[in-house]
């Protein structure tokens, strides 16, 4: 089986696993305990915090460990709502549900929101917001790079726009980390979400990076860990693994933007020859992501056929893959329902080999031609 679904989750890098093993196999000690077991694991967590901070040029004190990207995103939304009762939330129409759902859920409590559209290329369309709405917005959340299309937003302009209106800004950088350079300080956002299991670290660890200009009411209460912002005994092994994975981020960025991008280019060239539509083709995208569809070919049939040939790819994001709904990202870009329904995502990883892509293309050609014939016969 060849794994082409790295935007869903990645395998753990062997070095990351090695760093975790002592804490998995003989883990003892609660970081809050004052004896030497406790101090030992506390040190490990602080070292991991430094590594995570350094991978995005943030200060270690700005890193709050959580259990997942979803938790980080819920923490920022609910935390802002709790600290700033007059908040008005804006988010783009292509955000992950773990941003849009918490924002919608607090609507019942009186928090209004504004949905910001994207253009047909998948880029945020700030000019579509009326002056009236603009004045009301106090908080904006924008995904740095989209999980389905891979589209990279023009963050500097968006941040500049937000700052001019005095709007607090958060970016979900879960898919961006390890694929493009991220500089938290230079970016000048107020908060940012990153996650371990998308960068060859373990599942179960993530972070919310927070500058100190905003107050956040904690989402989970209890023992007061993470400076009171996130209670609960720390997931030490996963946090240590996350730290180690962050050390490798720079290397991964180089690989993704050299070899892997080359393989993607090859892949897309062939896809186009076969008549595929490649979404957001004309704008800057993550080097590993291709989101495509064929007119006249049923996506799920093609997915199953490729699965039988030994290729693990995805139809949209993992989180919504059992809903059967077409991708909300594509619909937001104005792609028609039928084409969106059949969309497939290939997300390559740092260990993807050229021959894997070439062999995949051969299988793809055979299957696409077979399915085209079937469709033609049926018509």
């Amino acid at each position: 089986m060849v794994y082409f679904d790295h935007n869903a989750t990645t395998s753990i890098h062997p070095e990351v696993l090695d760093s975790m093993m002592p804490f998995l196999a003989s883990q003892q000690g609660n970081p809050s305990s004052s004896h030497s077991f406790g101090k030992y694991v506390l040190t490990a967590i602080e070292e991991a915090r430094e590594k995570v901070a350094s991978s995005v040029n943030a200060h270690p004190s700005q890193v709050i460990f959580t259990s997942s990207g979803t938790e980080s995103n819920n923490t920022i939304i609910n935390g802002i709502a709790g600290s700033y009762p007059e908040s008005h939330f804006a988010f783009s129409s292509i955000e992950h549900p773990c941003i849009s759902e918490p924002i919608k859920s607090i609507n019942a409590m009186g928090f209004e929101n504004t949905l910001i559209p994207v253009d047909s290329k998948g880029l945020l369309n700030l000019s579509a917001i009326s002056k009236h709405k603009q004045k009301k917005i106090t908080f904006l959340s924008v995904m740095m790079a989209n999980n389905e299309t891979g589209v990279i937003q023009d963050m500097p302009s968006i941040v500049k726009w937000a700052k001019e209106q005095n709007i607090k800004i958060h970016t979900d950088a879960v898919q961006a980390l390890g694929k493009i350079d991220i500089d938290f300080e230079a970016l000048d956002v107020d908060a940012m979400t990153i996650s371990s299991h998308k960068i060859y670290g373990p599942q179960g660890a993530a972070a919310l990076i927070l500058n100190k200009k905003i107050d956040l009411k904690p989402h989970m209460m209890g023992g007061g860990q993470e400076k009171g912002l996130r209670s609960g005994t720390e997931n030490i092994a996963a946090i240590v693994g996350f730290g180690k994975a962050c050390e490798r981020v720079q290397k991964n960025i180089v690989i993704i933007n050299s070899e892997i991008k080359k393989y993607r280019f090859l892949l897309e060239k062939e896809l186009k020859k076969l008549g595929a539509v490649i979404f957001a083709n004309e704008v800057e995208r993550l080097g590993n992501t291709t989101f495509f569809a064929f007119n006249n070919i049923d996506g799920s049939t093609l997915l199953t056929a490729l699965d039988r040939k030994g290729y693990a790819i995805a139809s949209g994001s993992a989180c919504s893959s059992n809903s059967g709904e077409p991708s909300h990202v594509l619909l937001a870009m104005g792609v028609n329902q039928e084409l969106a329904q059949g969309a497939l995502r290939v997300s390559l990883g740092i260990n993807t080999k050229e021959n894997e892509v070439k062999e995949f293309l051969q299988s793809l050609k055979i299957e696409v031609n077979r399915l085209k014939q079937l469709t033609a016969m049926a018509a």
């Binding site: 089986m1 794994y3 679904d5 869903a8 989750t9 990645t10 753990i12 760093s19 975790m20 002592p22 998995l24 196999a25 883990q27 003892q28 000690g29 609660n30 809050s32 305990s33 004052s34 004896h35 030497s36 406790g38 259990s67 997942s68 979803t70 938790e71 995103n73 819920n74 992950h96 549900p97 773990c98 941003i99 759902e101 918490p102 859920s105 299991h197 599942q203 179960g204 989970m220 209460m221 209890g222 023992g223 860990q225 209670s231 609960g232 005994t233 997931n235 030490i236 092994a237 996963a238 997915l303 699965d307 693990a312 995805a314 994001s317 993992a318 989180c319 919504s320 893959s321 059992n322």
Partner: protein
């Protein structure tokens, strides 16, 4: 980086966290190295394998507490489970009323979640336990009001190990139509839990107190009669919409295996640990002026909490560095405040300060117990030799009546 076990003290702090059982670690590893799929990926075998493992683990967790696997929701730990249960159920059923009952000796995660509800306009009653740490059932019943929506009581206390009468409390809640949440983080693998019989609506579990990994827990949400909760984390709609977020497969697998082992070995293990506890108790109570905190009968065998009078708590902790123990709960031991749990039992500041929690478990050996007894006898003897209070006590001075000169 390598753990230098040689330099490490003997671990007697199993209530803070337990080591991962090697069998658990072994079961987890393949889900890190090979079967690393996202359980939510429905389009390929990586996802299916992970999902299957998650469901197997769910069965194991359900089996230990005799519940239906569909009643188990994965979380990141007991803190999240407690927050989800208390906030989620109180909010969902707020039309019934806005009064919550809990206990002064609950874990901080419960107390702080309850306090948070106060800020949202709920009224709360924090019951004081009896001096033995147990709840007076009548007082509990009297605290219930027509607008009481939820009661949250822990099964086993983390500091003093006492076991509350969950059946009696739950029956009252049923009669009064109050949602009953139980924090069982310290109970799994130590006491039998049968949710087919227990009148409990919501129950919190943690893996890392039962030889599983940190960073994973679960919440039991009863199906019959069906209990509803408002989600606290929104997103991909995982866990039937009650708790979004990518499931950490290896951690969940670890929790399943840890709970499977607990179910199989609990009976034998508890018998062995009970003997160790009895030996520790008889050895330590040979020391004069020692007070056991919490009831000794309705108590898990894994815990002994003892106050050593006329010894200053911090110096005692410093003196017994050969063993890793807690004074007060680990989550609050960084502060010098005396344990709020012991204070709630009516212990004086002095006795609360000089308390030590010994918590033992699967890998505690008889020789560890003997070493501990010897160490405590020796160090307490030395500390008391230096203590003027001890000297006065020996001379028969009633310290309660001494009028201290002002500085």
């Amino acid at each position: 980086m390598k753990i230098e076990t040689e330099a490490m003290p003997i671990y007697m702090d199993y209530s803070a966290t337990t080591p991962v059982d090697p069998r658990v670690a072994e079961k987890m590893i393949p889900f890190i190295t090979e079967s690393y799929g996202n359980p939510a990926s429905r389009s390929h075998p990586y996802g299916w394998t992970a999902e299957k493992a998650v469901e197997e683990a769910r069965k194991e967790v359900a089996k230990l507490v005799n519940a239906d696997p569909r009643e188990i929701i994965w979380t990141s730990g007991a803190t999240e489970s407690n927050n989800l249960a208390i906030k989620g159920a109180s909010n969902f059923y707020s039309s019934k009323g806005k009064h919550i009952i809990s206990l002064a000796t609950e874990h901080k995660a419960v107390i702080d979640a309850v306090r948070e509800m106060e800020r949202l306009g709920y009224e709360t009653t924090l019951l004081e336990p009896e001096p033995d740490g147990l709840i007076d059932i009548k007082k509990f019943k009297d605290a219930i009001r027509p607008d009481t929506v939820l009661a949250s009581i822990m099964m086993v206390n983390n500091e003093i190990g006492v076991i509350q009468d969950i059946t009696a409390l739950g029956n009252i809640c049923r009669e009064e139509k109050v949602i009953f949440h139980v924090d069982a983080a310290q109970a799994t693998g130590k006491v039998e839990i049968d949710l087919s019989k227990l009148p409990v609506d919501l129950m919190s579990f943690s893996a890392h107190k039962t030889y599983g990994p940190k960073g994973v827990g679960a919440l039991y949400v009863r199906r019959k009669p069906r209990i509803r909760i408002e989600a606290q984390m929104h997103g991909g709609g995982h866990e039937r919409g009650m708790r979004s977020g990518t499931l950490a497969t290896h951690q969940i697998v670890g929790m399943g295996e840890a709970f499977r082992i607990a179910g199989e070995e609990m009976e034998m293990e508890n018998a062995r640990i009970k003997k160790l506890q009895a030996r520790l108790l008889s050895g330590l109570t040979e020391i004069d002026e020692t007070y056991v905190n919490g009831d000794l009968v309705k108590r898990v065998p894994h815990n002994l909490n003892i106050s050593f009078n006329y010894v200053e708590g911090e110096s005692l902790i410093m003196a017994i560095k050969g063993i890793a123990v807690s004074s007060g709960s680990a989550c609050t031991s960084a502060s010098l405040e005396p344990s709020y749990v012991l204070r709630a039992l009516g212990r004086s500041d002095e006795l609360a300060h000089s308390s030590i929690r010994f918590s033992i478990g699967r890998f505690t050996k008889e020789s560890d117990i003997e070493y501990t007894i010897k160490l405590l006898k020796e160090k307490i003897g030395k500390l008391r030799d230096l203590s003027p209070l001890w000297e006065m006590f020996q001379d028969g001075v009633d310290l309660e009546k001494v009028e201290w000169a002002e500085h």
